[in-house]
C-alpha cells in the first residue's frame, strides 16, 4: 500500500491531538475572543460521535443502496428502476440541510434528523453506482454463465457482483465523504459532531471555534476519502 492515502488521516490525527494545546496560538490569532479554545466537549468526543453518525448511516445505506440497485437491475423489474430513478432525481434536487430541517418538526431535535438525512443521502451514490456497475457487466459474460448452468442467484453472487465490485466500492467512498459533510450539517439540528463548534462559534461570534471545527471537519473528510481510496484500489487491482 502506498503511504500517500494515509497522509490526510495522519494530518487529521495530528490536528486532533494538537488542537487542545493550541489555546495560546488561537488566543494570539484572535485577540478579541475571550475563550479562544472550544472546551464544551473534547474534540475527540466530537470526532467519535461524528464518526458514529457516519458509520451508523453508512451501513444501512450500503445495504439499501446495493439491495435496491440489485433489485432494479433484475429482468422484469422496470418498476423498481423507475422508482430508483425518481428517488435519485428528487434527492439530487433537495439539499440535505432541507431534509434535516424538515425532519426536525417530525422527530424533534437531536441525532435523529441527521440520521434520516444521512441514510437518504448516503444511499444514493451507492444505488447509482450499483445500477451503473451491474448494467455494464458484459452480456456475453452473462450468457456464458447462464450457459454453464448457473442459477440466477449464483450468477448474481459469483459473476455480477464480483465484476461490479470496484465501481460499487467507489460509490461507497463517495457516500462516506458525503456522509461526513452531511453529519457536520446535523449540528444545526442539535446533533453533537465536529460541526458543533462551527455552529457554536457562528452563534456566539467566536471565529476561533469556527476555524477549529471547520479545520477538523475538512481534514476528517480528506482522511475518510484517502483511507477508503486506499481500500478501493487494491480491490480493483486484484479483481479479474
Amino acid at each position: 500500500m502506498r503511504l500517500a492515502p494515509l497522509l490526510p488521516a495522519a494530518l487529521f490525527l495530528a490536528a486532533l491531538l494538537a488542537l487542545p494545546l493550541a489555546g495560546p496560538t488561537f488566543g494570539a490569532l484572535f485577540p478579541d475572543v475571550a475563550e479562544p479554545l472550544y472546551r464544551r466537549e473534547s474534540f475527540i468526543a466530537l470526532t467519535l460521535s461524528h464518526a458514529w453518525l457516519v458509520l451508523a448511516s453508512l451501513v444501512p445505506a450500503a445495504v439499501t443502496g446495493i439491495g435496491l440497485g440489485v433489485a432494479a437491475t433484475r429482468p422484469g423489474a422496470r418498476e423498481m428502476r423507475v422508482i430508483a430513478d425518481a428517488l435519485v432525481g428528487f434527492a439530487q434536487a433537495v439539499p440535505p440541510v432541507a431534509i434535516i430541517a424538515i425532519a426536525v418538526p417530525v422527530v424533534g431535535f437531536g441525532v435523529t434528523p441527521s440520521l434520516i438525512a444521512l441514510v437518504c443521502y448516503a444511499t444514493l451514490p451507492v444505488l447509482r453506482a450499483t445500477t451503473g456497475a451491474l448494467a455494464t457487466v458484459p452480456t456475453d459474460v452473462l450468457d456464458a454463465a447462464r450457459g454453464s448452468g448457473m442459477t440466477p442467484r449464483q450468477m448474481l453472487f459469483q459473476v455480477e457482483l464480483p465484476l461490479a465490485a470496484p465501481p460499487i466500492l467507489a460509490g461507497l467512498r463517495v457516500a462516506a465523504v458525503l456522509a461526513v459533510a452531511t453529519a457536520a450539517v446535523g449540528a444545526v439540528a442539535g446533533a453533537s459532531c465536529l460541526g458543533t463548534p462551527i455552529i457554536a462559534g457562528l452563534v456566539n461570534g467566536n471565529p476561533a471555534w469556527v476555524v477549529q471545527g471547520a479545520v477538523l471537519t475538512g481534514l476528517m473528510a480528506f482522511a475518510v476519502d484517502g483511507l477508503l481510496g486506499a481500500l478501493v484500489r487494491p480491490v480493483s487491482a486484484s479483481s479479474p
Partner: protein, 362 residues
C-alpha cells in the same frame, strides 16, 4: 395507493397548534367531517391504481388536491377565530402526499413520458395548486397563513436566493469553461487542475464556508475599498465564493467532455474538408458537445440552489434564512417555508434544463 388512503386514517390526519407555545395536538380523520373533500380524494387515489399511465398521474394529482382541500377545510373550521393558530398535515397526510407524488411520477414513467412531458405534468399540477390558492381553497392551512403573513420576507428570500445562485454560477461558468478547455488541450497539466477541483469537492460545504470567513474579513480590513464594496467576513461573500469553488468541477468536467464528444471521424472529416481549427471548433465540436455541456450546467445549477441554502449559516440571504429562523424558533411552518421553495426551485430548474437538453439532443 393503499398507502395514500390508509396513512391519513392510521397515522394521523392533521396537527393543530393553537399557538407557538402550546404543544400541538393531533386530529384524526374521524374527528372532523370533511368527506366532501376526502371521499373523492380517496376514490381518485384508488382509481389511480387501476387507470392506465397518464390518467393515473392525473388521478394522483386530483387526490392530492382533494387531500389538501380537506386539510384546508378543517383548518378553516378549527382556526377561523384564532389568528395565531396553525393547522398542518400530520405524519399520515405527509406520507400520503409523498406516496401520491411518487405514484404520479411512476405512472408517467410507465407511460414512457419524456422530460418535456414530465415538466408539463409538473406545470399542470402547479397551476392546479395556484388555482386552489386563488379560489381561497388553501388559505387556512398553517403553511399558507405563515406565507401570507411573511409575504415580503418570502419575496426577499426568493430574490436573494436567485441573486446568490447567479453570483456564484455565472463566474463559475466562465472560469469552469476556461479550465475545462485548458484541460482538454493540455492533457497533463489539465489533469492536475481537474484533480485539484475534485479535491475541493471533498471539503464539506459548511467547513469551506466557515474557513472562508476569516481570510475574507482580513482582506476586508486590509483593503478598505473592498470592505466598502461589501466584503466582510460574515455575509454573502464566503457563501458565494464557496459555492463558486464547488461549481467549478461539474462545469469544467462537462466542458472537457463536451469538447471531446465529437467522434474522431467527424473531426477528421471536417479537417479533410479544409475546415480551419476555429471552424472545426465552432461548427463540429461545439454543436455536438452542447448537450453534454448543458448536462454539466444542470448539475451545477441544482447544486448551487442547494449549497446557497447552507450559506445562510454564514450570513448570506436566501431561503436558508427562513429555514434556520424556523429551526431556532422551532416553528415547523417557517422551516417548511424555507425548505419547500428550495426543493421546488431546484426541481423546476432541473426539469427546465433537462427539457432543453432533450430538445438539443434530438
Amino acid at each position: 395507493m393503499l398507502v395514500a388512503v390508509l396513512a391519513p386514517l392510521l397515522l394521523g390526519f392533521a396537527v393543530l397548534a393553537p399557538n407557538r407555545i402550546v404543544p400541538p395536538r393531533g386530529i384524526a380523520v374521524g374527528d372532523v367531517h370533511v368527506w366532501g373533500f376526502l371521499a373523492p380524494a380517496a376514490l381518485a387515489a384508488l382509481a389511480a391504481a387501476m387507470l392506465p399511465g397518464r390518467m393515473a398521474a392525473i388521478a394522483c394529482g386530483v387526490a392530492l388536491c382533494g387531500l389538501l382541500g380537506g386539510l384546508d377545510d378543517v383548518a378553516g373550521r378549527l382556526t377561523a377565530s384564532l389568528s395565531a393558530a396553525r393547522l398542518g398535515p400530520a405524519a399520515g397526510s405527509w406520507i400520503a402526499c409523498g406516496a401520491l407524488l411518487l405514484a404520479a411520477r411512476l405512472a408517467l414513467g410507465r407511460a414512457g413520458t419524456g422530460a418535456a412531458g414530465r415538466a408539463a405534468a409538473a406545470a399542470g399540477f402547479v397551476v392546479a395548486i395556484a388555482a386552489m390558492l386563488a379560489l381561497g381553497l388553501l388559505g387556512d392551512l398553517g403553511l399558507v397563513r405563515e406565507a401570507t403573513a411573511r409575504g415580503p420576507e418570502l419575496r426577499a428570500a426568493l430574490a436573494g436566493h436567485l441573486e446568490l445562485v447567479a453570483a456564484a454560477l455565472l463566474p463559475a461558468l466562465a472560469a469552469g469553461a476556461a479550465a475545462g478547455a485548458f484541460a482538454f488541450t493540455m492533457r497533463r497539466i489539465g489533469g492536475a487542475v481537474m484533480g485539484l477541483l475534485a479535491a475541493l469537492q471533498v471539503i464539506p460545504a459548511m467547513a469551506l464556508f466557515a474557513l472562508l470567513i476569516e481570510p475574507l474579513a482580513a482582506l476586508g480590513r486590509a483593503v478598505p475599498l473592498l470592505r466598502e464594496a461589501g466584503l466582510r467576513g460574515i455575509g454573502a461573500a464566503p457563501a458565494v465564493i464557496g459555492v463558486f469553488l464547488y461549481l467549478l468541477l461539474p462545469i469544467a468536467a462537462a466542458t472537457r467532455a463536451a469538447l471531446g464528444a465529437a467522434p474522431a471521424a467527424a473531426v477528421d472529416a471536417a479537417r479533410g474538408l479544409g475546415f480551419a481549427p476555429g471552424q472545426v471548433l465552432r461548427r463540429v465540436r461545439l454543436p455536438l458537445g452542447a448537450p453534454v455541456f448543458l448536462g454539466g450546467l444542470r448539475t451545477a445549477t441544482v447544486q448551487a440552489v442547494g449549497l446557497v441554502t447552507l450559506g445562510a449559516l454564514v450570513g448570506a440571504g436566501g431561503f436558508g434564512v427562513l429555514m434556520f429562523q424556523g429551526l431556532g424558533q422551532f416553528a415547523p411552518d417557517l422551516i417548511l417555508l424555507g425548505a419547500l421553495p428550495v426543493a421546488a426551485l431546484a426541481l423546476v430548474l432541473d426539469a427546465a434544463l433537462r427539457a432543453v437538453e432533450d430538445g438539443l439532443a434530438q
